[in-house]
Symmetry: C2
Subunit: 260 residues, 2 copies
C-alpha cells in the first residue's frame, strides 16, 4: 500500500463495502476510510460510513454515477483524499466502470491521479455463500436492468447462457420503473432451462432484513425479487440437499463425461 | 453470528482467505479462525494461518478435495471447531462445492451439522480491481481446467460466451499436466473475438510476486499464464486508457442502442 502519511497529494480510492455486514468489510477498505477527507457515493452507501471530524460525506442520487465520479476526481485533483463507496464490489455493476468512463472523457490530468480500486465482497458471492455453493462451477453474471442496454441484448444473453449451461447470477432484477422486465426474463428462462430448474432469491444478504428462498422456475413469480434481491439460477446440474431448516444448494464441480 | 462462546457442539466454517494479502481477509473470517480448533485445506493455504496453541493445521494435497471435506465433516461431527480454508472465495472453483458434495453423499447426520460458508475476495474481483474495471458489465467465469469437465464443453462455453459478448474471467488457465489446453483456448478466442480483443494476465494479485499484463489476443501466448494467473478477456466494448505507467482497462456500463 502507498504510504499515505508521507503523501501530500490527493488520491481516489474506489472501494467495495460488501453486502451490508460490517464484518465483511476488508481491513484495507477500513484503513482508507479512516484516512479519507471525503466520502462520495449513493446516499444509502455513504450513510454506512459513520460521521467524524475531518470527513465530509457527499451523498448523491442513484443514476448520478458519472457526475459523482467527476466530483470525486475533481476533489482528488485538488489534493483531497477521496473514497468512492459502492455496495458489494466496486467492479461489478457499480462505481468502478463509471470512474474510468469519467477519467477517459475528462481532464487529461485525471489520468495521472493516484487512483486505486479495492475489491469488496460482492452480493453474488455473499448470496452464494448463504445458499451453499450454487456458483461452484462455471457461471455468468448479468445485470437485468435495461437502463443501459436493450432488452433484446438481455434476452440474447439469457438464451446463450442457458445454452452454455452456466449457473447465472442476476443483479437488479426488478424496479418500479420497469416491473415487467423480470417477468419476461423468467419466461425466457422457463423456456430455455425447463420448469424444474432451481432458482434462488437472496434479499439483503448479511443485513437484519436478510431473506432467502429456494424454489423452481415453475414456482417462481416476479414479486419474489425487488431491487435488494440477488437472483441465482442453477445450471442443469445444480442440486438441493434437503435437511431440517433451509436446504443447501450447490453446483457440483464435475460434469458428465469428464475424465475420472 | 452464532454465539460461539456458548456453543459446545462442533461446527464447520468454509471460508475464503482472499487472493493473498492479509488486508483482504474479512473480519468475520479472522474471527472464526481465532476460535477454530482445526484448520483444513490445501497445504499453501493452510500455511497462511499462523500456528498457535490449541490449533491443529491439517494440510493436504491438491485434488484431494472430497477426502479433505470428509475429514473436516467428521471432525465437526466429533465436536471440533473446524475451518476449511480456500484461497479467494470458497464458492468459486474452491472447497464450497466439494463440501456439499461430501455432505450429500456422506453420513445423514452431517446434514444437520452447523455448516457455514463465509465469502472471500475472489481472485477474479481482485484482478479486476488492479486492472481497473474490466468486469464492469455482464461477464462469465470459466474454469479452464479439464480435470473435471471435457475439453469439448470448455470450447462450447468459450464460443457461446463470445457470442453473448461477455467479458470473461478464466481460472486455472494452465498447468504442467495439460500444457496445450490454454493454447487451444486462445485459438478459439482469437477465432471468435478477433485479434484486437483485449486480454489481461493477473498473476499472484496482492502478493509480493504480483504481476499484471495487458495485451491483445493477437499478441497473447500461452506462456503468459501459469496456475497462479487469473486471465480476463474483455468484451467487444472493453477499453484501455493510456497513461504514464500501466494502462487502466474497463468495460463501459452501457451498450450501443440503449435508451438514453
Amino acid at each position: 500500500m502507498r504510504d499515505h502519511g508521507k503523501d501530500t497529494r490527493g488520491w481516489l480510492n474506489v472501494v467495495g463495502l460488501g453486502p451490508g455486514a460490517e464484518a465483511m468489510i476488508t481491513p484495507e477498505v477500513s484503513a482508507v476510510l479512516a484516512e479519507a477527507t471525503d466520502v462520495v457515493g449513493y446516499v444509502p452507501y455513504v450513510e454506512r460510513i459513520p460521521p467524524r471530524p475531518g470527513l465530509t460525506r457527499h451523498g448523491s442520487d442513484n443514476r448520478e454515477e458519472i457526475r459523482r465520479a467527476e466530483q470525486a476526481l475533481r476533489m482528488a485533483a485538488d489534493g483531497r483524499r477521496v473514497v468512492i463507496v459502492s455496495s458489494g464490489d466496486p467492479g461489478v455493476f457499480a462505481m468502478g466502470a463509471a470512474v474510468f468512463e469519467a477519467v477517459e472523457s475528462g481532464e487529461p490530468a485525471w489520468r495521472e491521479l493516484d487512483i486505486r480500486v479495492m475489491p469488496g465482497i460482492s452480493a453474488m458471492l455473499a448470496a452464494s455463500a448463504r445458499l451453499g455453493a450454487p456458483l461452484g462451477h462455471d457461471f455468468c453474471c448479468i445485470n437485468l436492468s435495461d437502463n443501459l442496454k436493450t432488452r433484446a441484448l438481455i434476452e440474447k444473453r439469457l438464451r446463450l447462457a442457458a445454452e452454455a449451461d452456466f449457473a447465472m447470477a442476476f443483479y437488479n432484477p426488478r424496479s418500479r420503473a420497469r416491473p415487467d422486465g423480470f417477468a419476461r426474463a423468467l419466461d425466457v428462462l422457463r423456456e430455455t432451462c425447463g420448469p424444474q430448474r432451481l432458482i434462488m432469491f437472496a434479499r439483503a444478504v448479511s443485513t437484519p432484513e436478510e431473506s432467502l428462498r429456494v424454489t423452481t422456475l415453475a414456482d417462481a413469480t416476479p414479486d419474489m425479487a425487488d431491487m435488494r434481491t440477488l437472483v441465482i439460477v442453477g445450471s442443469s446440474l445444480t442440486r438441493r440437499i434437503a435437511r431440517n431448516g433451509a436446504p443447501w444448494v450447490y453446483t457440483p464441480r464435475s460434469t458428465p463425461g469428464a475424465a475420472p
